[in-house]
């Protein structure tokens, strides 16, 4: 009981301290600097006045992030299996995957817009590129660092290559995979917002939070910008929560990273 009180009370308290500090700082700002930081209640009002716009933009970002993250997960796992098959394949592909990760999104965005058009297609692809790398690297690592004893056990039972992958290497790589997925889950909404910022479109009510940042930025609406940032945080939080939940579901019964919850 004490534990759960702490668990719920502590974040509420720290949030209260944070908002209190925010008020104090805003109150101390000289007149010509006041535009830099809106009052917390101004931000709340910005939420109240623009909630439909913000919600629609958040849903658009969530959709782009979900498409990008899911497709990145599927392709990354297939790629990781391919790379786990031989050191030669790993050596041939790895530098190119690194290059993919290094690709500056701002430079990529105009190219993507030409190829697939602005809006959801570009946003999803940018999210895909950002999310892909952590999953493929971690999953590959997991697939090739399977317990040697277990590999020998499978060899003793004359398991086929396919059996070794499906019954041994993939399950053994799951904790690694989820490490990558947790990183990508954080990156997904950020990627979608960055993508929307540089390759978004207002067509079909498809504008996302990145698009709103440009609009509010152009109009110098600081309270609305803060509200947009907070919306972005909330989406990121929801994604991380979902990934953690799935990870817990798959791992908690057997993996050491989760406390024993059943005894």
């Amino acid at each position: 009981m004490k534990g759960s009180t702490t668990r719920y009370l502590a974040p509420v308290l720290s949030a209260a301290v944070f908002i209190g500090g925010w008020y104090a700082i805003r109150a101390g700002l000289p007149t010509e600097k006041q535009f830099m930081l809106p009052w917390p209640h101004d931000v709340a009002q910005a939420f109240a006045e623009n909630w439909q716009t913000l919600l629609q933009a958040s849903l658009n970002i969530a959709l782009g992030a979900a498409i990008g993250l899911c497709s990145a997960t599927m392709v990354a796992v297939l790629m990781a299996i391919l790379m786990s098959l031989s050191g030669f394949i790993r050596a041939s592909l790895y530098p190119h995957l690194m290059a993919l990760q290094m690709m500056p999104v701002v430079a990529l965005a105009p190219i993507l817009v030409i190829w697939v058009g602005p809006g959801l297609p570009s946003v999803s692809i940018i999210t895909f590129i950002i999310c892909f790398f952590p999953i493929v690297v971690n999953t590959t690592q997991g697939l090739i660092s399977t317990d040697r004893k277990l590999v020998e056990l499978f060899a003793l039972y004359r398991a086929s290559r396919w059996q070794q992958i499906t019954r041994l290497r993939l399950p053994a790589a799951m904790p690694y995979f989820f490490t990558g997925l947790r990183i990508s889950g954080i990156l997904a909404s950020i990627g979608a917002i960055v993508g929307d910022f540089s390759a978004g479109s207002s067509a079909n009510d498809g504008a996302g939070l990145g698009f709103l940042v440009i609009i509010y930025g152009a109009q110098f609406k600081m309270a609305e910008l803060f509200a947009t940032v907070i919306s972005g945080c909330l989406i990121g939080f929801v994604f991380v929560l979902i990934v953690h939940r799935v990870s817990w579901f798959c791992l908690h019964q057997w993996h050491d990273s989760y406390e024993r919850s059943d005894s």
Binding site: G28, L29, P30, I114, A218
Partner: protein, 336 residues
């Protein structure tokens, strides 16, 4: 406690403003041998649309006015207005409607002179695009900086709907997509595209009736503390523009070409010719327009228009966003 809060606030302000904060000269010394250092932040890479400032710098007009002006080039995402508002640079430029929006949100920026009587911003279309008028934009998609006030104006004035996508600050997409409509500077992109063999046409935004100034702006507290510096800067800049447009533009063009590799002689000649012929900077003398001149009635009318469009939350009095007292007397007097 109150003192503590104030200190905390000042500390935060200093942090927010960043370290590159320009030291504000306390005393202006226009006549002495000591020049007052000030910075002008451009809104784009150096180009003929900044020609008058370079002309004034190279020909020594600023020095004669007691100023040592550093011209900072801009670029995509440069966002000069927040820089001025934060007090990082004392002078920059932009559109008058943006300044009104900024001032309405409490940014301490002040319009001090006109840079151009009309905004050369236009919509760029392929020559064979069926869109001929603003009304034809209905249902189209336009690549432009979202949040610009001309968007709701066009929608309301012509009763149309169109979608936006963020500007990519390049022409590759435009060349690749014959359907694309994007915002441009009429003095710049059309020339570059025609040189590449792309047939284009333009719709000048000010022809729609949406007609903001391009203006020179300053940091309001700076103007309050250094009125003489601001006055000297405005006067020398206007002199520079006069000389650039109607004298020999070579000094400015050499300076610009040295700073911006993409600026060829032909490109700069084209831009300058456009500015001269379409009278973007000097305006129409029959309407009382001259270089630097600001008409308070026109500013007021524009602020009212923005309020009617719902872009400005309240009718904004001119004192909030402009101060015409820094204009040379003949310009400010002529307006009343």
């Amino acid at each position: 406690m109150a003192r503590f809060l104030r200190t905390l606030g000042l500390l935060t302000a200093a942090l927010l403003a960043g370290c590159s904060r320009e030291s504000h000269p306390a005393v202006a010394a226009p006549s002495g041998p000591e020049l007052t250092p000030v910075t002008l932040q451009l809104d784009w890479f150096p180009e003929p649309a900044h020609g008058g400032f370079y002309q004034a710098a190279v020909r020594g007009f600023y020095a004669e006015a007691g100023l040592d002006v550093t011209i900072n080039p801009g670029g995509p995402g440069g966002r000069p207005i927040p820089k001025v508002a934060a007090g990082q640079v004392p002078f920059s430029m932009g559109r008058s409607d943006d300044m009104m929006l900024a001032a309405a949100q409490g940014l301490p920026v002040l319009i001090i002179a006109a840079l151009m009587q009309r905004d050369p911003q236009a919509l760029l279309l392929h020559a064979d695009n069926p869109v001929e008028t603003f009304a034809d934009l209905d249902g189209r998609e336009v690549m432009a900086y979202p949040g610009s006030a001309w968007v709701p104006y066009l929608k309301k004035r012509y009763g149309i709907e169109f979608d936006l996508m963020p500007a990519s600050f390049g022409l590759a997409r435009f060349i690749a997509d014959p359907e694309l409509i994007q915002a441009c500077f009429i003095t710049d992109e059309p020339f570059r595209l025609r040189k590449q063999g792309v047939a284009v046409k333009t719709l000048l935004l000010s022809d729609s009736g949406y007609d903001p100034y391009r203006v020179i702006v300053t940091h309001a507290p700076f103007a309050q503390e250094n009125p003489e510096v601001v006055r000297a800067f405005v006067a020398a800049s206007i002199r520079g523009w006069q000389d650039y447009l109607f004298g020999d533009p070579a000094p400015a063009h050499q300076a610009i070409a040295a700073l911006n590799d993409h600026m060829t002689e032909a490109q700069m000649d084209y831009s300058l010719t456009q500015m001269r012929e379409q009278k973007f900077v000097q305006g129409f003398s029959e309407r009382g327009e001259r270089i630097g001149h600001l008409d308070p009635g026109r500013l007021d009318a524009h602020a009212t228009l923005l309020h009617e469009l719902g872009v400005l939350p309240e009718p904004l009095p001119m004192s909030r966003y402009a101060d015409l007292s820094f204009l040379p007397t003949e310009l400010s007097a002529g307006s009343f």
